[in-house]
Symmetry: C2
Subunit: 736 residues, 2 copies
Amino acid sequence: MIGKAIPRIESKDKARGKAVYTGDVVLPQKILVGKILYSQVPHGIIKNIDYSEALKVPGVKAVITSEDFKVKRTGLIMEDEMILATGKVRFIGEKIAAVAAVNEEAANEALSKIKVEIEELPHLSDPLKALETDSILVHDDLIKEGLAESMGIEGNLCSSMELCQGDIEKGFEEADVVIEDTFKTSKVHHCFIEPHVSLALWHPEKGFNVWTSTQGYFFIQQKLAAIFSLPITKVKVMPVESGGAFGGKVSLCVEPLVCALSMKAGQPVRITVGRDEEFLYGKPRFPATTKIKLGVKKDGSITALHSQIYYDLGAYSDFGPIMMYAATNNACGPYKIPNAKLEGYAVYTNKISGTSFRAPGVPQYCFALESMINRAASKLGMDSIEIRKKNAVTNGYVRVSGEPINGNSFLTVLDKAKELLDKNPKRDEVGIAACIWETRAGPSSILLRLSDDGRILIITGVCDLTGARTIFVQIVCDVFSVEPDDVEIIYQDSSTAPVTPPSTGSGTIYNVGHVVKSAAESLKSEIIKIAMERLECSDESEIEISAKKAVKKGTDKSVSFAEISKYSRHKLGKVLMKEASSVAEYNATLFGLQMAEVDVDTETGKVDVKKITAIHDVGKIMNPLLLKGQVEGAILQGTGFAVLEEIVFNDVKALTDNFSDYAVPTIKDVPEKEIIILEGDYSKDGPYGSKGIGEPPVVPTAPAIADAVFKKTGVAISELPLSPERVFKALKEKSS
Amino acid sequence: MIGKAIPRIESKDKARGKAVYTGDVVLPQKILVGKILYSQVPHGIIKNIDYSEALKVPGVKAVITSEDFKVKRTGLIMEDEMILATGKVRFIGEKIAAVAAVNEEAANEALSKIKVEIEELPHLSDPLKALETDSILVHDDLIKEGLAESMGIEGNLCSSMELCQGDIEKGFEEADVVIEDTFKTSKVHHCFIEPHVSLALWHPEKGFNVWTSTQGYFFIQQKLAAIFSLPITKVKVMPVESGGAFGGKVSLCVEPLVCALSMKAGQPVRITVGRDEEFLYGKPRFPATTKIKLGVKKDGSITALHSQIYYDLGAYSDFGPIMMYAATNNACGPYKIPNAKLEGYAVYTNKISGTSFRAPGVPQYCFALESMINRAASKLGMDSIEIRKKNAVTNGYVRVSGEPINGNSFLTVLDKAKELLDKNPKRDEVGIAACIWETRAGPSSILLRLSDDGRILIITGVCDLTGARTIFVQIVCDVFSVEPDDVEIIYQDSSTAPVTPPSTGSGTIYNVGHVVKSAAESLKSEIIKIAMERLECSDESEIEISAKKAVKKGTDKSVSFAEISKYSRHKLGKVLMKEASSVAEYNATLFGLQMAEVDVDTETGKVDVKKITAIHDVGKIMNPLLLKGQVEGAILQGTGFAVLEEIVFNDVKALTDNFSDYAVPTIKDVPEKEIIILEGDYSKDGPYGSKGIGEPPVVPTAPAIADAVFKKTGVAISELPLSPERVFKALKEKSS
């Protein structure tokens, strides 16, 4: 069953329109419509909020402001984020108030009647300038309240780090070529099909039932419990399908608002964030400015790297600090660099915050590093693959961060790329970029249960973004030699489902799959033990498991799973269930490389991505269909990031608010794709040696495309997206 | 916490209108309205069913007949009942077809367009006549198919039994007084507030989700799985509140129909049985005819009993065989009778079937036996209490059935009654009747879980009719010394909830409570074990549990339940959960006695029940508020049975179809109630020594009232209800 191309088990329901998303949930009670009032001022002091007129609008059931929350702040990593603006507003789009009404019209009318007086303050739009000033402080209140210090905030610098190895100056001295540049990436949106939707039902004794489009039920549960000072079991986050997330649904969004509104209105309340709100006020990928200096010898060996990554957090940190930490840790990419200084900065400005987005922080940085490697190769007249082979990390190599590489496939990836390139008559025009990825081991748990009908239930509360459920079913099928119809995924809410981490970091199958396998094996052992008793065997090798039966080998004696379950319940007094809670011990390192072929229209500057060839190591292919879907989607998202997508700002005000203005790739923009998956460099802890593939394929696409443009036109562009304007300008500059 | 008068934990939701019953359930998809076509012919051969015109009615989505079921028959005990009439109809009210449509109007119109051709056959209305004939056979097809024999069916006799002890003829010879009579009880309806409502949603891969007003989710699951040939986990019976049941919701009702309709229509379908349908076609209490002959010596000792109980099953057996078995087994009541012949007969006729109804079978029989005891006392000029003391069973006494008495409170009950009577100046007018009840031990299971917030979750799928949830919370509170808010009942559907038997036989707290207590104690042990490790104790006596903490006695060192849960999950890799599955070993016998005071209007025959004094043994009072509620409700139901309630028939056609015609007691009929609960005769296996009290208080009310009428007027009436007509007629006969 492992390695089979089984469609996602929920795909039929999604195709039939029967999958239930938060927007589909109905309740016996009338669900009120919630709406949010956003700040239109980038920075200012709230002098007064008067919603008395809003309450008079017929059909309005509740209005909330920051006053309705005892706990004012929350946050994904650091608690620096106001649930509703308190004292100040910090960006255009900050949530100030919310209303609940019987319909959208009444809710909108109520919003229009809320009077907010704000005394505008000067604002910060540029992170590098924000670092230099003390006169405009985004989080002056945290400083005043004495909280900034313990949170590590200095002025507008939310958090920073520096890693050093070797002697950077000596390194650059040893280099034959030293190149330097500054790279910029834009704010891009996840463009999940389903916007943020949350629904809450308050019960005075039992607390909240919450339905929400999220990547992590348990995280939402914990955060809401903290905000409302409730025991966690009084916040039940209910399982619903998620219509795309890509990292953009890790944080709290409108969950605290629907909860507070439901509590105040005494009715369930749902907020469906509009597409315009997602674009204007939602959390995109953090944009980055990366200053990079690279020293290389004539033979291609890298002698020194100095990188400074500046992430523009916007007003609140969200995923920023951990992203900055992870990106800085891995700023050497998949290369052995003896002398390195890696700096990371996460800086507050008065703009919309960003959040996690598929391979958070890495596409921004990889664009800079891989572009520099390609430019160095070009300077040295060296092959793009060769320079990478020269510096490639191998298994056990200890990085600047102190973390070892747990994977040995980079050279295999490079060899495969060379093999393909050598066959390509236009090889000199092919853009190249590599990536390194770390699937991180984390704690997880699962509950497996044998039922009286011999079927095996997998009880979970995991958010399935990538087909995790399907893989879990495959694992159980494999362990028990049963068919998918003999296994069922049972979702439970966060009060009883086994705790799983949010579905992030390409770690769901790696970590949850790990416990699914171990729980399945331990349940199987128990089944065999009972079968031995029933079939009078003295050794488990006498038992064979097949077709939901335990058979005594070489005889026609057998006992069915159904009988074993009933026997266990009735005679042994126990339900056959196994909860596995464990931590995979080892991280897994995996590598990839993508090759881009482009046409550039020199008249217009338009980059037409013709083909992307993606080579990725996954350890073990669990399901080729799902795997291919992940890689294809990532390539498309990487292509959008490379050439099309950008939330356009006028200073601190987002302008792009719809899919006509925001150029997400359409079917006409889809490049030809060749996907090569390498197996064999098995992980130690992923089930069957698998590694996480959800994120890495989105990483090298943009730098590969930039390299192809570079190779095709000779212009090296350091800012994304490679829009017609930008490319045209660069071509013009070059020719002039 | 045990013994505290805590209101039912769901009572606030019920009062607020927020409790969710099947009728309240909403689904993302449009729920179709299901309606049933009933036979208006009592017995006949179905020649043809044509529903082609019904399908043309706009909005009609599906029509089903017996053709739509591969499995045609089901049944509570014996599989003799047609899901939809197949080949024949057997009573007025038999379900022939069902439709699902977008609204009630379309559904009703469709029903009116179904053409059913039936060739009418002669029918049976009297069970005694049915026994004598072979020319009219209710289940000729079972006989033809060769199934009748293995089911024990002979002609129209569904099942029968005979128990003998001593020498009955010698017993009657020894008697000084021998009396004989035939008693009859009528069909009475449970009158649950919520009629039968069922809703099903078919999913092609996952099977059915079913919401239904039932007493047993797991029973419904098993029956539906069998009918639709599905593994049981593909039938998920979802927890909803039940709006009263009283035994009338043990069997399948419209569940197979909504399932088949949903499967055929591809949409969810709900059938809400109308009050008129409940009265006309629903299953009431089986009426009984009891022939009884009693021999008594002058000193009051009973020498012989010959009883013949005939239950009129109607067309299908439902609960009948087991009820007949239980009643016959206990036909000696709480009396030692050396010579006895106890016969029981369950007989098919062409009438609506009956079903279980609070203390199934017993009120019918007890009316006969207790009336005879009172008449014997009267003949002997003996006190009603004295004659009972003379023959009272005591602990360990082995009954005719071979089962021992496990309880010793009958004499205490009688002494208490005497004490009260002696204070009553009108003692000679007080009607008396006693009862014996057996709470039967059965298998049950429960899942308890300590959460990371230190709260304890009770995971169950029990149907709570009598406040079971509240008692379970009290038990857990007692074991862990916590408050009710620290405990929560979590309902899961029948695919994952621990299996519990249907809520019947006054056994829910006895059996499920038994495992709740043992699971709680074993979870507590585990908590203490971890606390010992954390607090460095070598013996568990050093640990004290209080306020969700384990405290090291005599120190200020403690570890909270929350910390213990997290430590166990994170460090020991296990969730603290305990599933207890076990069987209470011993049945518990309990006794009761009720005294009735009445006024009889000799002009009209109207019996006015002034006061009922109820004395009942419960072993241990778990919650006096809930206990009182059970006894009060039972007295009222017993009063209705005694003087008011009857579904009136014209031959085999029910006429009573509403609450104006069916005289359920109203607030004006409520007698004064004095309730005396005796504790101390603890059961061996019920939690804290408790016994089941749901049913016994409904048993002696009617014979006590009949006795009061007898004592007051001298007329001994042998048929219920003691309606004005009946009493007036008896008074007239006596005076003439």
